[in-house]
């Protein structure tokens, strides 16, 4: 328990001491979202703007959760390894992956600030509240599953980075690819294809979020089944992968993460 307390303390202290960096993270994230979202909104007819603006916003929110988990958790490993902290923690009997999981603290705070700032900005720009929802609890459920899947993915990436030395900037590409899946409208797909797509990570939580925004998006029991199954599988994979990497590091030593 004292190990966990130390990890939590470490991340809060870092958050406070590097507060300008974290503010910079929030601002950077908001600006990038704005650059992309403004481009997308150019395609939307003025009369549909309030509704579509909200959907586009929450889809980008979903993607931000995934990319933040990869960047703030998976990407941090290169820094953690470069300053020699992996060996230090192993020698003291603390799993470096537990320290990496602690990055959940700054990433949650950065993400919450980003979303609040972004929703205020979008609300002012387009005169529509991002929080006027169809089923808020459904959106929250989708967000929770999305975040858990994102963290499991981030931790898995962190352990893969340590073994393969592939930097997170390359792994981040997967997030852009996932983005394509998040925007696919499941409603118009044939049954078999829809069942297949629903069981791809992040798709079902995103659909729950969309349903939370508007009733025009479908809700099926398989979405909940997929959320529970995929989340459990991703958590198990991340645990298995981290244990495997830790055993590998103890035998072969730490491999530096490539130049970014």
């Amino acid at each position: 328990m004292s190990k966990w307390r130390a990890i939590v303390w470490l991340h809060f202290i870092r958050l406070w001491r590097l507060r300008l960096s974290f503010l910079s993270f929030v601002l950077t994230e908001v600006l990038w979202i704005l650059v992309f979202i403004l481009g997308v909104l150019l395609f939307i007819p003025q009369e549909l703007m309030p509704q579509m603006c909200k959907v586009a916003f929450w889809i980008i929110v979903g993607w931000t959760i995934i990319s933040q988990c990869s960047m703030l958790i998976g990407g941090w490993v290169s820094y953690f390894t470069a300053i020699g902290m992996v060996e230090e923690h192993l020698l003291r009997g603390v799993s470096p992956f537990k320290v990496v999981i602690g990055r959940l603290i700054p990433s949650t705070i950065v993400l919450t600030c980003t979303l609040l700032f972004m929703s205020m900005l979008m609300g002012e720009m387009f005169g529509v509240s991002m929080f006027m929802l169809n089923e808020p609890w459904m959106l929250i459920l989708g967000l929770i599953f999305m975040a858990i899947q994102g963290v499991a993915y981030g931790v898995t990436l962190a352990s893969i980075s340590m073994r393969t030395s592939i930097p997170h900037s390359f792994l981040d590409i997967l997030n852009f690819a996932v983005m394509g899946l998040l925007v696919v409208p499941l409603e118009g797909l044939p049954e078999a294809l829809r069942l297949f797509i629903v069981f791809i990570p992040y798709v079902a939580p995103m659909q729950l979020m969309k349903r939370g925004i508007s009733s025009s998006f479908m809700m099926r029991p398989e979405l909940i089944v997929s959320c529970i199954t995929i989340t459990s599988v991703m958590i198990l994979i991340s645990i298995w992968q981290t244990k495997k990497t830790e055993r590998w590091i103890r035998r072969h030593g730490v491999k530096g993460v490539g130049f970014m």
């Binding site: 960096s21 950077t28 992309f36 481009g39 150019l42 579509m52 490539g258 130049f259």
Partner: protein, 272 residues
């Protein structure tokens, strides 16, 4: 002249070895423009239409060519700002900045001349990636003309941006301890004001005033002329070329005058 060639040669050698040793990063760099384009176009076409796009823009433009031009220029601008402006910070972090400063060449020259080969190689490579898409959308004859406009924008647009980015290098040189990179949030802010994906004409008036002072705005405008249906007017191209050349003179002169001051202050303060 020989000194300049030495710097450019060192830039080429550095990049060749970087590419050889960082293939994963190179592949990711090549994939990024398509991913950015895919994100905006994919979401745009799913939620809206090209007719609505033309109505909102107020011009008869092809959205695919419009966003290809925007993406290529955005990647180029980001590259210049990070690699010229941000390079000082990187050199500072790895402890190599004092060596670069005491080298016989002015640091501005080292930063700019060693970067030019990389810029030309990576930008043209990224443009080459889009050739099949442009030919598919515009046809071969129109496509060649439009690619020519984009090459012109990327080449001319580089000149003022080099000086503009060198100004950031000066800021990084004189500031002491760095907690985070100023460019990480300044870059998207500059792109937002430059009308990266959203035209400047649709921004609020105060934002337009800032936009007109940024060289990236004119580079993006010039590249985007290629998206107009039919052929863009030569007068518009010449006008934007003139502005870019004027800005190139202005920003490079300012950067050249101030970088010496920055170097002296950094040495005096021991801020390296």
């Amino acid at each position: 002249m020989g000194r300049f060639l030495t710097l450019m040669k060192s830039g080429i050698m550095l990049d060749l070895y970087w590419l050889k040793n960082n293939r994963a990063s190179f592949i990711s760099m090549m994939l990024w423009p398509y991913l950015m384009l895919g994100l905006v176009l994919g979401m745009g076409f799913i939620f809206g239409s090209s007719e609505a796009f033309q109505r909102n823009i107020g011009l008869k433009v092809n959205p695919i060519t419009y966003f290809v031009a925007s993406t290529v220029v955005v990647m180029a601008c980001l590259g210049i700002m990070w690699d010229v402006g941000g390079n000082v910070l990187f050199l500072k972090w790895i402890g190599a900045l004092p060596y670069v400063i005491v080298a016989p060449h002015r640091i501005s020259m080292t930063l700019i001349l060693s970067y030019i080969p990389r810029y030309l190689f990576l930008t043209m490579f990224q443009l080459l990636e889009f050739i099949p898409l442009i030919f598919l959308v515009e046809g071969i004859k129109q496509g060649i003309f439009k690619l020519g406009v984009m090459v012109l924008a990327l080449t001319l647009g580089m000149l003022p941006l080099l000086g503009f980015s060198a100004l950031f290098a000066i800021v990084f040189m004189v500031t002491g301890e760095e907690e985070s990179n100023l460019l990480s949030w300044l870059n998207p802010l500059i792109l937002l004001f430059s009308g990266a994906f959203y035209p400047v004409a649709l921004l609020p008036y105060w934002a337009q005033l800032i936009a007109w002072a940024l060289p990236s705005t004119y580079t993006i405008e010039l590249a985007r002329l290629s998206a107009l249906m039919g052929s863009p007017r030569f007068a518009q191209i010449i006008f934007l070329m003139g502005i870019l050349l004027g800005m190139a003179m202005f920003y490079n002169l300012v950067a050249y005058s101030f970088i010496g001051v920055g170097e002296r202050r950094a040495l005096k303060k021991g801020a390296l």
